[in-house]
Structures are given as structure tokens and as C-alpha cells.
């Protein structure tokens, strides 16, 4: 069992998660924001899989659950974006201000 790639894999996971976070903060389009969330989820999956080499196969099963939740989240989130677009004619988050007092 060669766990030599553990350190580099965790570093790659850190880089991808940071890029995803910066993207969520940076972009205004809600669809691109969703894509950045998917990048973050994938970074976490990579960390789980890298550590599953040392700590057993439970990490890989966790990744399976994360993927399922991501699929459910994408379906519901994109439906919400669709409804907001129908209401506002825009996917720009700056225009979604119904709750502003």
C-alpha cells in the first residue's frame, strides 16, 4: 500500500477548496456560484479518498454519500434558480433582494 500521495492529495484538496471559496465570494451569477460549491464538494471528496488509504474504506463510503447529497442539492438548487429567474428575469444575485428591509 503506497500512501506516498497522501500529502500531495491533501494539498491539492486544500487548493481546490480555496479556489471554490474565492469563487463563491467573487462571482455574482448564481449558476457559477453553484459550480464553485461543486468544486468545494469535490475537494472534500478528494481529502476523504486520500485519507481512506490510511483509515479504511469508510472514507470512500462517505464520498458516495456526499455525491448523492450533491446530486439532490444540484437538482433542488437549480429548480430554485429557475423560479428566481422566472420572477426576476435574472440570475444575478445582486437582484435577489426581496428580503431586504
Amino acid at each position: 500500500m503506497p500512501p506516498d500521495l497522501l500529502g500531495p492529495a491533501l494539498a491539492l484538496s486544500a487548493v481546490l477548496f480555496s479556489i471554490g471559496t474565492a469563487g463563491v465570494l467573487l462571482r455574482r451569477s448564481s449558476i457559477v456560484l453553484f459550480m464553485c460549491i461543486e468544486i468545494m464538494l469535490n475537494a472534500v471528496n478528494l481529502a476523504f479518498i486520500a485519507l481512506a488509504q490510511l483509515h479504511g474504506v469508510a472514507g470512500q463510503i462517505m464520498v458516495f454519500f456526499v455525491m448523492t447529497v450533491a446530486a439532490a442539492e444540484a437538482a433542488v438548487g437549480l429548480a430554485i434558480i429557475l423560479v428566481v429567474f422566472r420572477h426576476k428575469q435574472s440570475v444575478d444575485l445582486q437582484h435577489v433582494n426581496l428580503l431586504r428591509g
Partner: protein, 186 residues
């Protein structure tokens, strides 16, 4: 050899993620994200998670990203004006991302060699990694005897059976919720 392949795919993954954030057009972002997902699938295979590599291609690239593409096409997002936030917000976002990166790079320190060194210093514990991580050797043995699919599937349908069934309920709820939300009139 394995390391060289890993670094190539890692570079592609980082490039894809960065371009996904920086591209103006939503379709370009999506295609760069697809590049990231595919190289991550290859990295999963390198990290002895072949089943999840295949699932990554099937679920993420085949289902989720196609769903994104449908919505981008449906809304014709690229025809609308797309721009990022102001200079202050951009600087803040980059600063927060960089800070997070520095914090997460502490993960570099979690390497087996460092652990082995720590174990060697303590006299009562063996410096053998297989003894330090019994799950890892059991894992390797299960993979060797049953293959990766069997090694992952057996605990999933035994130890994690209840979470697995709850996941199916979650998917059903998401399915109904998406239809209820997206349909104009039920």
C-alpha cells in the same frame, strides 16, 4: 511514474477550477469545471478508489454537469450581463481565499513519514505503519481478496445500511421538490 501522472492531473484540476472561477461566460466555466471533475476522477483511481472514479464520471460529469448545462441553455444566461463584484469585494474574496489556503496547507503536515517518525520516538509503540493503522492493512487485504467493489459494497450494505436507505429517501424528496419548484402549475 504514479507521482508524475498524479501531478499532471493535479495541475489540470487546479487550472480547470481557476478558469471556472475566472471565465465570464457560464458555458466556459462549466466546461472548465468538467475538466476539473474528469482529472479528479483520474486522481481517485490513482488513490485506489477506482469505483468512486467511475462514479465521479457517471454522477458528476454525466448527471450533475449536464443538469447545469440544461439550466444554462434554458435560461440563456450568457445573453444576460454577467460581471463580478466591485474592487473591494474582489480583494476581500481573494484575501479570504488565500487565508483559507494557508490554513488548509497545515494538512501537508499530516504525512505518514511524520507519523512514522513520531511513532519511532515513542518506545512502547511499533514504528510499523501497518500496526499504527490497522484499518489500512485490513483495507488492503479486503481489496486484495474481494476487489475494490466488494470491499466498498460489503460495509455499505451491512454497517451503513440505514444511512444508505435514508439517502434513497433524500433523493426521492429532492426529486419531488425539484418538480414542485420548477413546474409553473401543478
Amino acid at each position: 511514474m504514479t507521482e508524475a501522472v498524479f501531478y499532471i492531473f493535479a495541475a489540470v484540476a487546479v487550472l480547470g477550477a481557476a478558469m471556472c472561477v475566472l471565465q465570464r461566460s457560464a458555458v466556459s466555466s462549466l466546461v472548465w469545471l468538467l475538466t476539473t471533475m474528469l482529472s479528479l476522477a483520474a486522481i481517485f483511481v490513482l488513490l485506489q478508489a477506482e469505483l468512486l472514479g467511475v462514479l465521479q464520471v457517471l454522477v458528476y460529469v454525466g448527471a450533475i454537469l449536464v443538469l447545469f448545462l440544461f439550466v444554462v441553455m434554458l435560461l440563456n444566461v450568457d445573453a444576460l450581463q454577467q460581471y463580478s463584484r466591485g474592487a473591494v469585494s474582489t480583494a476581500a474574496a481573494v484575501a479570504i481565499g488565500g487565508l483559507l489556503l494557508v490554513e488548509l496547507f497545515a494538512l501537508w503536515r499530516y504525512t505518514p513519514s511524520r507519523l512514522a517518525a513520531e511513532l519511532a520516538q515513542s518506545p512502547q509503540m511499533a514504528s510499523d505503519l501497518a500496526l499504527a493503522f490497522p484499518a489500512a492493512s485490513a483495507n488492503a487485504e479486503a481489496i486484495a481478496t474481494r476487489g475494490i467493489v466488494g470491499a466498498v459494497a460489503a460495509p455499505m450494505f451491512q454497517t451503513y445500511l440505514v444511512p444508505f436507505e435514508i439517502t434513497s429517501i433524500l433523493l426521492l424528496v429532492a426529486l419531488i421538490g425539484a418538480v414542485v419548484l420548477a413546474k409553473k402549475r401543478l
